[in-house]
């Protein structure tokens, strides 16, 4: 196997990984702080993709619209997240996790059908923004500029989020809410607002990922249900609620998927699941997580 081919596989895996990181990071943040496993996170991602497509259609005559469309889609999903959290989810925090799980699943059902009603079932796609249309030749493989952008965006967001979590007052409050909600509330912090904020940020990230994926993947019904499983695997590999765990989990997922195809053709999906199984058995709290109580 030529080295350039292997390098190409590596880059492909890295692009997948950074997309997954954008999605899984939101899932992991909400789980880490609120202990809610949000199945609807994949639906937010799908709505982000559809909104981006819609915004491109509307904006095209006015301004060449990819970047504004991405921003609009992410903000639209953030607004959706805000409404969902304020109106419904917040009433379930005191209830058993069973009800929270089923609530987010109800959202999956409703949003999936809403998207079908609004945009139909045909495949939609968005063309790459002109500024990133080209590609680079690196070590004998061509890397599309758009993929390079995604590869750089992933770590940028990771570092930004990490700085926000560790260096800012709001970030400290978020981490405190993750550790002990009641104590933080007793100290006078507005825990409800922190939860709303986390959910909105998480929805924003899901919408952003959905909007950014449109140039390289077509938008289809069912992308919500399949992506949430991938994001779930990433989060489990990295460690539930662990921020850097999610990052490295995505990188590992991407590489295992892209090299798994070479080792077991047709079984690449299986190689990822097998990795997850081994991690769950050996370290149920994930590679970077802390042991559970």
């Amino acid at each position: 196997m030529p080295a350039s081919f292997l390098f190409g596989q590596f880059l492909g895996g890295l692009t997948t990984a950074m997309f997954l990181f954008l999605i899984a990071s939101g899932l992991s943040l909400v789980f880490g702080v609120m202990r809610v496993l949000n199945f609807a996170h994949g639906s937010f991602y799908m709505i982000g993709a559809y909104l981006a497509w819609q915004a491109v259609q509307w904006l095209t005559p006015l301004l060449s619209g990819f970047w504004p469309a991405v921003l609009a889609a992410a903000l639209g999903v953030a607004l959706l997240g805000f409404i969902v959290e304020r109106l419904l989810l917040r009433h379930l925090y005191g209830r058993e996790e069973l009800y929270q799980l089923l609530f987010t699943y109800a959202l999956v059902l409703i949003l999936g059908d809403a998207a079908k009603a609004a945009w139909g079932t045909q495949q939609l796609s968005v063309s790459r923004p002109a500024i990133l249309a080209g590609g680079f030749d690196i070590f004998g493989t061509t890397l599309p500029a758009y993929n390079l952008f995604i590869m750089l965006l992933g770590p940028t967001i990771a570092v930004a989020a990490w700085l926000a979590l560790t260096r800012s007052t709001a970030g400290r409050m978020v981490r405190a809410a993750a550790l002990d909600r009641e104590m933080l509330g007793a100290l006078g912090a507005n825990v409800g607002a922190i939860y709303t904020g986390m959910f909105v940020v998480s929805s924003f990230l899901a919408g952003l990922a959905g909007a950014l994926v449109t140039p390289i993947q077509s938008i289809v019904p069912g992308m919500d249900v399949s992506i949430i499983v991938d994001a779930f695997i990433v989060v489990v590999i990295g460690g539930l609620g662990s921020f850097w765990g999610t990052f490295w989990g995505s990188v590992i997922y991407g590489q295992v998927l892209s090299f798994g195809i070479l080792i077991f053709p047709g079984f690449s999906l299986f190689s990822v699941f097998a990795l997850m199984a081994v991690i769950l058995i050996v370290r149920p709290w994930g590679l970077f997580g802390r042991p559970l109580r």
């Binding site: 069973l98 799980l101 699943y105 109800a106 059902l109 409703i110 499983v229 299986f270 097998a274 997850m276």
Partner: protein, 332 residues
């Protein structure tokens, strides 16, 4: 003192009435009614098996579909690929599924609450990935079509039963198997073992303090629930004439959970009511609109926010409220 009407209502053996009513469906109803009744019976068994974990033991398994699917595949592969008789394939499916549940459950019961739910989900997705990709054994994404019906030739000599269609005959077999399984589960829940499970649900720490091996009990419940889910899956594979990887896909775990909650998980018959309601609703609503998931999502929201006790829980609460009011009036 109970009012006379109520005492009379209580004297009727309702379980037997429902069972007998289910038995006559092939003679009174259409072929389509039989199909719907078969689905209800299978889903009822599946939902009750989940409720052994959810309602009785307090374990939120979000991967129960794995055992349904494994049962379907074991039975389907044995009957189709190896030509094994149903009388052997069904017990093999139940035991095989229970064995898988033992292995997966061993790891799952070491975790608690939401982590337990996630690990069960993860295992069910692993099972799905294997079923979806292992072409040589499971047929991969093509599935395993044309699983044969059990051999009913011996019935042809029996009057009444001999001239029934084969799907009606299979329905009767399903009803009997489901009834026996439900009876077995009711016995298990009522046994000292079942009481221990309820103790664990109510307070695992206290259960551990009085010397109960909580994990071992939870694992046992997991294995039993898995085995019965396997039976439901095996029946479903035959009745739907094939086994496909969708049987194991995660949304189906949510679906059976919705059935359980809809009926009410605090009562043994709740999941049965939930399964029947959901299958009938699905049948009615899909004939008007393609947006069944939307309707289901809204039902689920209403259920979560307004009726967390489900249908049976709601009825029980309503009846006790009526009785209290009647008692007050009698005293006044």
């Amino acid at each position: 003192m109970m009012p006379r009407g109520e005492a009379l209502l209580r004297r009727i053996p309702w379980t037997l009435v429902v069972f007998l009513a289910a038995l006559v469906v092939p003679w009174l109803g259409s072929r389509y009614d039989t199909l719907i009744a078969t689905l209800i019976a299978i889903d009822a068994l599946f939902a009750v098996s989940l409720n052994l974990l959810l309602g009785t033991t307090g374990l939120v398994s979000f991967g129960h579909v794995a055992y349904f699917g494994i049962g379907a595949y074991i039975c389907g592969i044995l009957m189709k690929t190896y030509g094994v008789a149903f009388t052997l394939a069904l017990p093999a499916a139940a035991l095989g599924t229970a064995a898988f549940a033992l292995v997966f459950g061993f790891f799952c019961v070491r975790l608690i609450r939401i982590y337990f739910a996630m690990l069960t989900l993860a295992f069910s997705q692993i099972v799905w990935a294997i079923c979806y990709k292992w072409n040589d054994v499971t047929g991969g994404d093509q599935g395993l079509p044309n699983v044969p019906y059990p051999d009913f030739d011996w019935l042809s000599a029996v009057p009444w039963f001999g001239d029934l269609r084969v799907d009606d005959q299979f329905y009767l077999l399903t009803i009997v198997i489901v009834a026996l399984s439900l009876a077995a589960m009711q016995r298990i829940i009522g046994s000292p073992f079942g009481r221990m499970l309820t103790t664990i649900r109510e307070n695992p720490e206290r259960a551990a303090f009085i010397g109960i091996n909580v994990r071992a009990y939870e694992l046992a419940a997991f294995v039993v629930a898995g085995g019965f889910a396997g039976i439901a899956g095996a029946l479903f594979g035959i009745s739907s004439r094939g086994v496909f990887s969708d049987f194991v896909y995660w949304p189906k775990s949510a679906e059976v959970m919705i059935m359980t909650i809809l009926g009410g998980m605090e009562h043994f018959w709740g999941p049965v009511v939930g399964a029947a309601t959901l299958v009938l609703l699905n049948d009615k609503i899909t004939s008007y609109t393609e947006y069944w998931p939307l309707v289901l999502g809204i039902i689920l929201l209403v259920l979560l926010f307004a009726f967390p006790g489900g249908i049976v829980g709601g009825i029980v609460a309503g009846v006790s409220r009526l009785r209290r009011r009647a008692g007050r009036r009698a005293r006044a």
